[in-house]
């Protein structure tokens, strides 16, 4: 039983997959309120277990979205995953949240027939008028990225999956597929070995904002 969750967007998404058919999602829950990851993730996990009639000891592995995404929410997901894995003594797999969108887009045929081999990009909201973006081949395998930059710097007429395309249509006129990563597809991506597995380390892509102090201001 794989428990998957992603907190790399304003929403929290939680899913659990079937023991015998790991690509079958038993339950998928999405938070109602934006930006309240810290309050919503643990209750959603508890509710997901309960809806499946499972107890925590039934879990055999964890999958967590490692972003990129807003740092505060991202850390809620990662510290939760690491701590649960530590206590339950089960493995935890990190997956780039953009890869999850890529897998969903390909597998749901959002880009046409899966074997056509159309390259595409995934772009999500990085705030500060920037996007996180990565490029993929037609099977959903990542070719480059993710990077963070202004939409105009990354503009493309090709198909673009994710919220970034919806937010910046001038730079990404060809929006397709899902807008936010779902835990259900995160779980399928891990179970089906469709995405690269990482340690549960956050993809920050940006340095912390911090300014070096100058000399103290004179007061007289």
């Amino acid at each position: 039983m794989l428990l998957a969750f992603d907190t790399a967007t304003p929403q929290v998404s939680v899913a659990i997959t079937d023991r015998d058919d790991p690509e079958r999602v038993l339950v998928e829950l999405t938070s109602e309120r934006a930006m309240k990851h810290g309050e919503q993730l643990a209750p959603l996990i508890a509710e997901a277990l309960e809806r499946c009639g499972l107890v925590r000891q039934d879990l055999t592995a964890l999958a967590v979205g490692v972003g990129p995404g807003p740092f505060t929410g991202l850390r809620v997901g990662l510290v939760t995953a690491r701590t649960l894995a530590h206590v339950l003594e089960i493995p935890v797999y990190g997956v780039c949240s953009l890869d999850v969108l890529a897998v969903e887009a390909v597998d749901t045929g959002a880009l046409g027939a899966p074997d056509e081999g159309t390259e595409f990009a995934v772009a999500t909201d990085a705030r500060r008028k920037e996007v996180y973006l990565a490029r993929y081949d037609g099977t959903g395998a990542r070719l480059s990225g993710p990077v963070v930059d202004r939409p105009a710097q990354l503009a493309t007429d090709g198909p673009v999956v994710g919220e970034g395309a919806l937010l910046y249509p001038d730079s990404f006129p060809h929006a397709v597929g899902p807008s936010r990563p779902s835990a259900g597809w995160l779980a399928r991506a891990v179970a089906g070995e469709r995405a690269e597995l990482h340690d549960p380390e956050p993809m920050y892509l940006r340095r912390p904002d911090a300014t070096m102090p100058g000399t103290p201001k004179r007061v007289s």
Partner: protein, 351 residues
Amino acid sequence: MSEPDGPLVLGIETSCDETGVGIVRGRTLLADAVASSVDEHARFGGVVPEVASRAHLEAMVPTVERACETAGVRLHDVDAIAVTSGPGLAGALLVGVAAAKALALALGKPIYGVNHLAAHVAVDQLEHGPLPEPCLAMLVSGGHSSLLRVTDVTTGVQPMGSTIDDAAGEAFDKVARLLGLPFPGGPHIDRVAREGSSVYVDFPRGLTSRRDLERHRFDFSFSGLKTAVARWVEARERSGEPVPVADVAASFQEAVCDVLVRKALDAARSEGIEDLLIGGGVAANSRLRAMAEERAAGLGIRVRVPRPGLCTDNGAMVAALGAEMVARGRTASSLDLPADSSMPVTEVLAG
């Protein structure tokens, strides 16, 4: 409760730059593991919230492991999890709260989201036994300067006064910088002040004039003091004379301690309280301890100050308050408890 000598509680503290995980059994300290990111902040001259949050994420599981090893307990034996719910840096608090929830969820144990200030008070029980109630608590650190009347550390904490500008510890940091001493300033000022004269400069005592005492009897102000030190140092530099660092440090420290002790004892006396507890990082200051004990003795007031390691932010203090919550039968928090960066001190336990 699994043991006759009290509940086994693990406490997590991440309100600022220390990742603290403590384990207590009742009022007995079993482990106090702390990972600090202070070195990463030193070059910025203050705590950078995002740097602190990143460090908390990296340190969390290793610090939990270290605490369990030191205490010689298994996580599964813990009766409850306690965590600082607020006040503090929002993003930093959130890492600790999320980790605590994951522990509670994975262990099937209750969680108590507690107030950081009340935890600074409760920690003293680990060293000096049951807290006298009521007591007057003075908490002084880089983030807080408050006088609290504590009738029940799990439910009854009333603010009597606090700083109207800088925290006491902030004043130490800023003056240290003026004097070319490293961050955090407290320990360095304390050290160099021992070689200096505390009456070399008569720095102002904030909010102690008759008029101020009417409106701000138990409040503090350290911003004017900091400016006065800066003016004094600048005047010296302009005149081309060397700045007597030890004397300035000692005179500044004397001014801070004088105001703190004076107001704390006044507050205690006004409430007829006979026990003063001093906590927070500044409580590690040797002059503050000595002055408080000396002046309190004359008034028949007892002073309790935990040892320096328990005064600064740590997980043991959170565990200590959590254990008291369990022992007094308080209702546990729910799994959706928030991290509340401006949690009022009157809210000791988050819903």
